[in-house]
């Protein structure tokens, strides 16, 4: 490198070049600046998420009611699975920093093992997120959407959620889903819900012990308000419009449409970052095996990608707080 730089004769002067006031290489510095700007992107997303929560403070769903699923186990376990995901990501951060540490010591074997473990951790996290999205999109109980874009939930007299399929009275169906192939080819519609709105109302009228749970949070208890039987009937018949099952970008069975939109957008954008991180880690992993850094005499590349990987972990810590805890 030295041969390519012209001697300007200002080497001894403060601004003469060749000095490293930050004691960091160009690549590392640029990674830090990228991380700062990317952090601001995520700040923008999370702050706009906060904006919408402040705007719909009363009708925002409670996370513990939504994210209750754990793979292979039935039942209601809020927080457990996300805590597991957080732990996986922190753990893979640890293996990454151990890889960086082994790289500093020019220990090729250890760096290889730790990079491998980091990649595995990344894959576990991504599959967990895939599971999380699947259950979120599929939904569990179903709900009724109102004309104003709100959501009506159903509970029994003890306050436990009741699924639509447990009380809706099914009638012979005449309506089939319109597909592009058997009608106007340029229009189509998403899959029809299992029950029509009328069937849900009929079932609700027939079952005396089912009540409506609104999306409004009671300020005193922090729980959603449950209406009396008469109010429930009135609420359902005057406001109800259609049946919502699961979540998409237009409606979801958990709360305001923005809730699902932000969930998909922010966790999706974070998941995208994780995917890129896994890709970079795999590249680095193979470079370590091939001995690229051994020949180069420096494992700094591991450190730079490590910075990115830790940043992904850092963002998840915030996503975890604002989506699942607060």
């Amino acid at each position: 490198m030295n041969t390519t730089v012209a001697d300007t004769g200002t080497d001894e002067k403060t601004w003469g070049g060749g000095k490293e006031p930050l004691k960091a290489s160009y690549g590392k510095l640029m990674m830090w600046f990228f991380i700062t700007s990317d952090a601001l992107t995520f700040t923008g997303f999370l702050a706009s998420y906060g904006f919408s929560r402040f705007k719909f403070a009363e009708i925002w769903p409670i996370a513990d009611d939504v994210f209750t699923h754990v793979p292979f186990i039935h039942g209601n376990y809020p927080m457990i699975f996300v805590a597991f995901m957080t732990f996986i990501l922190i753990m893979s951060s640890v293996t990454m920093v151990l890889a960086v540490d082994a790289g500093h010591k020019m220990d090729k074997a250890k760096t290889t093992i730790y990079m491998f473990l980091t990649v595995i951790g990344g894959f576990i996290f991504l599959s967990s997120q895939a599971y999380e999205w699947t259950t979120f999109i599929k939904g569990e109980y179903g709900a009724v959407g109102t004309h104003g874009g709100n959501i009506i939930h159903f509970v029994d007299t003890d306050g436990n959620r009741v699924a639509l399929k447990d009380f809706a009275i099914g009638e012979p169906k005449e309506r089939t889903q319109h597909l592009g192939k058997n009608g106007l080819w340029f229009t189509s519609e998403s899959s029809l819900p299992s029950y029509t709105f009328d069937e849900v109302v009929a079932g609700f009228e027939a079952n005396e012990n089912i009540l409506v749970k609104t999306t409004y949070t009671d300020k005193e208890t922090g729980h959603k308000t449950i209406l009396s039987r008469n109010e429930s009937l009135k609420e359902l018949k005057t406001k109800g419009k259609n049946v919502v099952e699961g979540a998409n970008l237009i409606q979801n069975e958990y709360g305001p449409p923005l809730f699902a939109n932000y969930f998909f957008f922010i966790t999706g954008f974070h998941g995208f970052h994780v995917s890129i991180g896994v890709l970079l880690n795999i590249i680095i992993f193979f470079n370590v095996i091939l001995g690229t850094y051994e020949r180069r005499g420096s494992y700094e590349m591991v450190e730079k990608v490590g910075l990115y990987w830790h940043f992904v972990d850092l963002v998840w810590v915030f996503v975890f707080t604002f989506f699942y805890l607060v």
């Binding site: 006031p21 930050l22 004691k23 960091a24 510095l29 830090w32 600046f33 991380i35 700062t36 952090a39 601001l40 700040t43 923008g44 702050a47 906060g50 904006f51 919408s52 929560r53 402040f54 705007k55 719909f56 403070a57 009363e58 009708i59 513990d64 809020p78 927080m79 457990i80 805590a83 732990f87 922190i90 753990m91 951060s93 640890v94 990454m96 920093v97 151990l98 960086v100 540490d101 500093h104 010591k105 109102t146 004309h147 104003g148 709100n150 922090g222 406001k239 450190e303 490590g306 910075l307 830790h310 972990d313 850092l314 810590v317 915030f318 975890f320 707080t321 699942y324 805890l325 607060v326």
Partner: protein, 126 residues
């Protein structure tokens, strides 16, 4: 590089013998903090439901613990502790200033829009 790591955390309260040891120590600390958050998130103790400066005490705890976690991830996993002070300030203060600014303006505006929804003439639940 390997021997230039600063091996103290908690302002010198805990001192580690090697960088590897410090990493495991920080992992244990982060796990404990996460465990506290999860337990509080599941049980939501009644005591912490009070309000302090417009927000639930529980939420204050969550946010502060998150910032604590972020600090240790940046300082020990990303080796910010070992960088020069000028690099650290360049990255951290820029971020902190802009983040505080955007949070302030956007949440302020969100509260205003929320109040229009609740007190104004626009009906959004029908």
């Amino acid at each position: 590089m390997a021997d230039t790591h600063k091996l103290e955390i908690f302002r010198g309260l805990v001192k580690f013998k090697s960088n590897t040891q410090k990493i495991w120590g920080v992992l244990i600390f982060l796990s404990i903090v996460t465990a506290i958050e999860v337990v509080l998130g599941i049980y939501k103790p009644e005591v912490l439901n009070g309000h302090f400066m417009g927000m639930k005490i529980l939420n204050w705890i969550f946010i502060i613990l998150t910032i604590v976690k972020a600090y240790y991830i940046t300082w020990d996993f990303m080796h910010m502790r070992d960088e020069t002070a000028s690099l650290r300030r360049m990255v951290v203060w820029t971020g902190v200033f802009l983040i505080c600014y955007i949070i302030f303006i956007i949440l302020q505006e969100g509260q205003y829009v929320g109040s229009v929804f609740t007190n104004g003439f626009v009906k959004h639940d029908f």
